[in-house]
Amino acid sequence: MVDLMGKSKYCFMMSAFILIACAVGLIVNGVVLDIQFQGGTIMQIEMPDEDFDTELAADIVKSAIGKTATVNRSSTFNAEDEDDRIYLMVLNIASDETLTDDERMAVMDALRKEFNIAENANTYVNSVEPFISEQFRMNAVKAIAISSVLIVLYVWLRFKSMHGLSAGVFAVLALLHDVVAMFTVYVIFRIPLNESFVAAMLTIIGYSINDTIVIYDRIRENMKLMPKATYRELVNKSVLQSLTRSINTSITTLIAVLTLLVFSVIYNIQSIREFTMPLVVGIISGVYSTLFIASPLYMMWQERKFRKNAAKRAAG
């Protein structure tokens, strides 16, 4: 039989590496917030082609309303003509300078004078005043806090009767691991945090705990079947037995999310990309943390307890 548990020190190293990457990323990059969470304005305006002067556009905005915009090029899928793409000019305006309706109209008028923008050009506008983004942030924090409490409560109830509280603590540790892994990807790639991230995170929390429960249940079942086995053998066997299920379930979920991610990257569908990217990371981290974090920790804890008890008995 493969000794999975013997390899656990490599896994702890891997997780330590993720933690370090997260810390370094935080120091170097900091956390980037989406305008939903910090306020600001994004305008996307359809352009006839890719060939336009972004610096000129920024200057026009500056002189029209006196606010600073960062201007970029982008393109997206054209539902009317698949061989073609819709080219977009993307204006980003920082939080303390969120545009009003009138200012947005002024920007459009000024840009129209200089650029060849069609009369009925496609546009996308997302504008959030900082005081509203604060409400969004508060809601996100509340949602995370309440789900964490409920999940811990659930784990506590579920594990108190079946595995002991220590197992519950490890299950929660594995969850934290997943959340940190998702967060690390955001920090390293400087992806702005928004509600999609929170939704993805909560989804993974709900999804990943299940994996751990299935394996712990298996350990408990095997305890009765293999009364003479060591903890190492017991956990190892249980993980191997549940391995196919854990991996297969993650594979199908991953197929679903990864397909969405690939399509959204190819066709530049921002909302889906933002949403599925953290899910992909979370699912991979979820199965990994269950197999290689929660289970070995549980095993080591039980072994330690066993040794202590043995030592006590020897002493007594």
């Binding site: 539902a79 009138d102 546009t123 005043e129 709900g206 299940n210 199908t252 991953l254 999310v257």
Partner: protein, 438 residues
Amino acid sequence: MKGNNGLKLFLVFALIAAMTYSCFAGSLFGLVEIPGVNDIVPGIDINGGIDAWLYAITEDGRKPTQDELDSAKSIIEVRLDKAGILDRNVTTDVSTGRIVVQIPWAPGETDYDPDKTLAMIGETALLTFQEVDENLLDENGNPLPTGKIVLEGTDVVNATPQQYVQTGEIVVQLELSEKGREAFAEATGRLIGQRIAIFMDDNFIQAPVVRERIADGNAVITIHRESLEEELQEAKALADKIRAGALPFSMEAKQVNAISPLLGKGALDVTIRASIVAFLLICLFMILYYRLPGLIASIALFMLAIMTLNCISWLGITLTLPGLAGVVLSIGMGVDANVIIFERIKEELRSGKTIKAAIDLGFKRAFSAIFDGNMTTVIVAVILWRFGTGPMISFALTLIIGVILSFFTALTLTRIMLQSVSDLDIARKTWLYGVKEV
């Protein structure tokens, strides 16, 4: 026994066929109208449109009261009516002091300018009572503005809907300011028997007839409609509009999400394609890995997808792009229940049990694990539903529906199909279940 199984299988397939048909046709073979995919309400991010939160710009920064918000809402409604934007959703939220305006893009509409629309609906309302020139009427016989102003919105202190106790008549009672009182006394004295028209901006609201000279500043407009219910509604609406003229603030959009229909349609097309590809890949994986049970699971997953879409349609849930992602995700997760069951069945088969016994045991032993997994996902989805905004609410709801349905399909449909099929002679090979002959 065999006939019985055949019947069960037939019923399952008939159910799937009927659900699928009604899902795409919007009816059950033309007999009963059943909402299907075409009746699903698309979100702004799919269909294009405007989603904005308007806040009152008050001088001292205080939050508007419920009455003020209702009035502001009625201004917005009148203006949207005037602009021909009939398909919209305007709601007030007094705890945050905002008005949420959602305007889905209407097919055929070419003049799409969200900023102009928002600026238009947010302006301070100009309410006027004007003299009527009976020669100046529009095609509906309603008076046009004459510019001969009797009262302005600021002359009205309050307007409230009332019911007379004795006669049961429904009226709107106006309380005028001192300046308004004088002007109104003069005008009503002069215009007895004629109409005075109420306009918001230049939009006609109503034109009551002057019965007598009103000198005390307490005017009453009597409402006549078919039923008491209608009269009450009308009176409330009229009072809201008149009060709106006295509103000391304009509204400004502080949170705007506006997207052109074509950009949304592109995103929808891509996401639907991705969903179909994802579904096919999952089925392929299940069939290659689990063979016969995998095929059955794929059929159950198809049913899951159809039922989820049906539920979204029946419950009137707005479907956004993340919502669609939620459907796909719940299919990916829904496989889990099947995988747990099949792995159990395989184990039982390996230990030498008969196929029938293995299937029964597999389902029995897998139940608690499946239940646990669904519980935790539903817990977080419910929280997301309570705390999320627009697109994410849709995701939370589709996820909840998908997860609950996946529980149902795995434990009933997969089970019935697997038990029935396994009784057939051709399905007796354990190879079909991914286990070598023992």
